[in-house]
């Protein structure tokens, strides 16, 4: 048992390191560029040297690399302070779906441009009526000649405003049970009739959009899978989403044990640094146990990866454990500050108000990408093999499924 790479992995990591050090853009290069422009510049550079989308086939712009090689590249890349990926949805979810369901011609046409960062893709699944019950979506597509006409609304679409293409699930038949009446397309986000409105979150950020469709036309040729087969196609996308969902907000702007320890070393409680207080220690220890437990669970799946195994739904625990924990940690960090905790100002707040941001961002962590309750269901059903919840909408035509207390 060790934390070391195999010889091949070590060699590959060295190669990656060397290339990154030589090619990661300098502050000067990025000077004056917008976040999107920075991301595109870096993606293009990776693409030109064959370091984009490592897992993909070479002819689609990838490298035919192994999963573990991909992980190693991501680890090393993460050590540089680069723009978080505006490409992650396209590369992580749209592309695998295209590879599984699109024609080789289509993949030849679209994937290289996705790999090079020339074109950005987004995902249009969720709807106001949907939520955890994704397949209850209502946005309609009606066949008209060799095109489909889309009307309705999608929500929670990240990057819709800067995306060139999107994958979308639409209802093409309301007379059959909900899963059977769906079809799956990819479309041009610049098509006439698409209107995009950002959603403001309680944290103040706007990471998502509402997308309205009014008589938007998409060619039938851009349908993936058969008519009515949309749910199966969507599952391909969703499986890849689960895989790409991280440790549940271990990313920027979340409160970690390090943040907390730092705060507790400086802040006063009973005339001593808070960290010397036994009750503070008990809380810190519990959170560290979870944080470390998730880290080492990750190491274990990575070891499985390096043996060529594919990680299962076990990864769902990351989000289920981390998201509520981040919320508790932020609330606790604020409590320790007493009256001064009310101040939320990067220049005045202790630690620049990071924990304030963590507190206001935590509810999103617990909901986006699957609520705590859905994650617990996933573990219960897919890991432990327990029965699904009773679904009263099974086998009923979509139009007859109750959708509100009034119906």
């Amino acid at each position: 048992m060790d934390f070391n790479d195999t010889p091949q992995e070590a060699e590959f990591r060295a190669e990656v390191k060397a290339w990154l050090e030589a090619n990661v853009p300098s502050k000067e290069e990025l000077e004056g560029l917008s976040p999107i422009e920075r991301a595109k510049l870096w993606q293009k550079r990776k693409y030109e040297s064959g370091w984009a989308c490592l897992r993909w086939p070479k002819n689609y712009g990838g490298r035919d690399a192994t999963t573990i090689e991909n992980v190693i590249f991501n680890q090393e890349e993460a050590k540089f302070d680069l723009e978080p990926g505006v490409f992650s949805i396209g590369h992580g979810m749209c592309a695998p779906t295209m590879m599984a369901w699109a024609t080789d011609e289509q993949n030849q046409q679209y994937l290289p441009k996705m790999a090079s960062g020339e074109e950005i893709w987004c995902q249009l699944f969720s709807e106001p009526a949907g939520g955890s019950d994704l397949a209850a979506l209502r946005t309609m597509a009606v066949k008209d000649g060799d095109e489909w006409v889309i009307n309705g609304q999608k929500i929670w679409t990240s990057g819709a405003h800067y995306s060139d293409f999107g994958v979308i699930v639409l209802r093409t038949d309301t007379s059959v049970p909900k899963h059977q009446g769906l079809s799956y397309f990819f479309l041009d986000m610049k098509s006439p009739g698409i209107e995009i409105k950002p959603i403001k979150q309680i944290s103040g950020a706007s990471n998502f959009n509402e997308v309205y469709f009014t008589d938007v036309r998409v060619p039938d040729a851009q349908r993936l899978g058969a008519v009515g087969q949309g749910w199966q196609v969507a599952l391909t996308t969703l499986m890849n989403e689960r895989a790409s969902i991280g440790g549940g907000g271990s990313g920027r702007g979340t409160v970690t044990c390090d943040t907390l320890v730092e705060l507790c070393e400086t802040i006063n409680l009973d005339g001593k640094p808070a960290i010397e207080d036994s009750a503070v220690q008990a809380k810190l220890a519990d959170w560290y146990v979870k944080e470390a437990g998730l880290k080492f669970t990750g190491y274990r799946s990575m070891s499985a990866l390096s043996r060529g195994e594919t990680p299962g739904p076990e990864n769902s625990i990351g989000k289920l454990v981390a998201a509520p924990m981040r919320q508790d940690m932020a609330a606790f960090a604020l409590d320790l500050q007493e009256a001064a905790g009310a101040i939320w100002d990067s220049s005045l707040s202790e630690g620049g108000g990071e924990v304030h941001g963590g507190y206001m961002g935590a509810p999103g962590l617990r909901i986006a990408g699957g609520t705590d309750e859905i994650m617990a269901n996933i573990i219960a059903e897919r890991v432990l093999g327990l029965p699904q919840d009773v679904r009263l909408d099974k086998g009923i035509p979509f139009t007859e499924v109750p959708t509100s207390s009034s119906s």
Binding site: S132, K200, E373, A376, P402
Partner: protein, 368 residues
């Protein structure tokens, strides 16, 4: 056994809740959160006219001389609607400080104005992030007046005066500083709960009047905060009840897989837990109300119990209300955020859960 509010008090509750339903819908809170106003002046004026700011002030000073039970009733209703007004600073803290420790002339000077709302008061103890009472006091009373800085002062930007902890020859004492006087500068700060305004107060040789016994400032603060803890607990109970109502209504309306999400045990039991925590907090707040209104020796224990229960109930209810709402819950467009912000603010003011858990056990041991 008559462990409940009187008919008169329940009538007051009905008046109060009807008044606030009309005059403080969530849109009022949103207006303050989105805008630049420090508080809702119109609402505040009406609250003053209702006489709520005069509740516990003796008639001799122009108050109504009602009991603290009436004030608890008002506190719960204000908590329910997340009212964007300086009521807690001015009534629970400043008014109490003067009633408990003010010399006659100070009372004469201020209680009437507090009662009729021409003055707003606040309490200022914090100088940095952390536990104020054990952090050392930089503010000092010198020959020419009071000098130093207080931060995170609720309503400090709109208050007429502040009760300030400051070091002097006797140790740390309480002083009343007229914030409209010279040697005072104040700056409004951005806050986690913009429905309640906060400010940094900077004093340089500001005129200040001693309040209470010199050198006993922190004892007085502890006493004032014990009393305020009960009133804040009632605000927290009110807020938790609103969160429960919102979550329940949404869960009944929102359907997934052909039935309301309120029918799934994950949601049912979540709401049951909110109800349980809120009921425990409410019952403990009854005890606090009784102790406060009778000046009982049990007040420190009752106050700590009510406060810890209130903090836990409101924080849990506000968080799980968002969770019950799912995606919409964390959008700016929905009102869940106001409860979530206020729950946190009420937990931080006068010290948080851990500090009061310790006070509770200390009080248990004294009682035993």
């Amino acid at each position: 056994m008559n462990f409940e509010f009187s008919e008169e008090q329940n009538m007051l509750r009905e008046q109060a809740s009807a008044f606030l339903r009309d005059n403080c819908p969530m849109s009022t809170v949103r207006k303050i959160v989105d805008g630049d106003e420090s508080f809702d002046q119109g609402l505040w004026q009406k609250i003053v006219e209702m006489g709520w700011t005069a509740t516990t002030i003796p008639e001799e000073y122009g108050g109504l001389g009602l009991s603290y039970l009436e004030l608890c009733v008002i506190a719960e209703e204000l908590g329910r609607v997340v009212a964007p007004v300086p009521f807690s600073s001015s009534v629970y803290l400043a008014t109490e400080a003067l009633l408990r420790y003010g010399a006659d002339d100070v009372k004469e000077a201020w209680l009437g104005k507090l009662a009729e709302g021409t003055a707003i008061g606040t309490l200022a103890t914090a100088e940095q992030a952390g536990q104020a009472s054990s952090s050392g006091t930089g503010c000092a009373m010198g020959a020419n007046g009071l000098t130093g800085t207080k931060i995170g002062v609720a309503d400090g930007d709109i208050a007429s005066f502040a009760i300030v902890t400051a070091a002097d020859d006797a140790g740390v004492s309480l002083y009343l500083v007229d914030l409209e006087g010279s040697g005072v500068s104040r700056e409004t700060v951005k806050t986690l709960d913009p429905s309640r305004s906060h400010a940094t107060l900077t004093f340089s040789d500001a005129a200040a009047t001693l309040v209470g016994e010199a050198g006993k400032g922190w004892d007085a603060v502890a006493d004032i905060q014990d009393r305020a803890a009960v009133l804040f607990a009632w605000e927290q109970v009110g807020g938790a009840k609103t969160a429960l109502d919102m979550a329940k209504d949404y869960a009944m309306e929102r359907y997934a897989f052909g039935r309301p999400i309120a029918g799934y045990q994950a949601i049912k039991h979540k709401l049951a837990n909110i109800y349980v925590k809120t009921t425990l907090a409410e019952s403990n707040s009854y005890y606090g109300a009784w102790a406060l209104s009778t000046d009982a020796a049990e007040l420190p224990l009752a106050a700590a119990t009510a406060r810890v229960a209130g903090i836990q109930a409101y924080q849990f209810a506000a968080s799980e209300n968002i969770q019950t709402h799912g995606g919409m819950g964390f959008t700016w467009e929905f009102d869940c955020q106001f409860l979530y912000r206020r729950a946190r603010l009420l937990s931080m003011v006068i010290g948080g859960e851990l500090v009061w858990q310790k006070k509770l056990v200390a009080a248990m041991r004294t009682a035993a």
